[in-house]
Amino acid sequence: MAKEPNLKEIERRTYMSYHQDGLLDIFTGVYILGFGLGIFMDTVWESGFGAIMPAILIAIVLPIWVAAKRRITMPRIGFVKFGHGGGTSKLMAIFIGLAVAGLGVAFAFTIATFQSGSRQLLDLIFQNGMLIVGFGSLAVCILFGYSMGLKRLYAYGLLAMISLVIGHFMGIFFAYILLALGTTVIAAGVALLIGFVKKYPLKGDKAIAE
């Protein structure tokens, strides 16, 4: 008798296969790199880029990511729309949850700071900013890595946490760490992309898997 199919495993495998192309890594790396560059430019030239860089990057990186998926991934392994209890809806719920929680914490913090009239908490956060970002990155990477079934996100989270903790205690400039992290993630993504393109070469209009 046929066994009942393990839908969770199929869902995980489907999601993984769609992100084995390394594009997610490359564009996340570019985002981190751009963010680091914004902070660096802010510090050196007081350009004000640091504050607007995340929005600029999202506006630039997202359409390129979608186009790259269509031109590189889709012709090779085909096209899939998630959403029927699939990875994307779960991921979107996590993303919205994180955004709402983040906004809530920021709002509560602002109110508390204004009411107390004290800068102690604010100073404490700025003094330990790298530690907070480091552990926050680890938590976000574990959350996304688990929900997407991408174990390499655990490694990225761990790398971010370790480098930011080291940076905090050794007094390394935040932007340098972001630049190094971004470059590392891009390099890993490029390696994955090369492997993906070799594994699924294009033959005419169609792709064949080895």
């Binding site: 009942e4 199919p5 839908l7 489907t14 392994i77 085909g78 899939v80 729309k81």
Partner: protein, 107 residues
């Protein structure tokens, strides 16, 4: 001694044979976890040959379990495959039935 099956439980005759075939079960399970997928994607996920996959898809389409939609993405023709409501319900029922039968089997 044979264990008597309660009347309200599924028995082996309730298993949908169209879904029970391993290749079609694989296709149905794959489409169940997504909104839609195209032929190339199913080909890679199931490991079937194009001819084999095509034949199984035709049977599922004839039964009304899947729908095939032709669309254009960046001016290129594209075929999207998705489970119909009937197909989704049939797969859910299949899972329930197979689980009930498997649960009643001795260790």
């Amino acid at each position: 001694m044979t264990k008597q099956l309660p009347n309200n439980d599924a028995n082996i005759h309730d298993i949908d044979r169209l879904i029970h075939e391993p290749n079609r079960l694989m296709i149905m399970a794959q489409l169940y976890v997504v909104q839609s997928a195209d032929f190339t994607f199913l080909l890679h996920q199931t490991g079937m040959t194009p001819g084999n996959l095509s034949a199984h898809l035709s049977k599922l389409e004839d039964a009304g379990y899947i729908e095939i939609t032709k669309e254009f993405i960046e001016r290129k023709p594209h075929t999207a495959l998705a489970l119909t409501k009937k197909g989704r319900a049939a797969f859910k029922q299949y899972r329930r039935n197979i689980k009930q039968i498997a649960d009643r089997l001795p260790e």
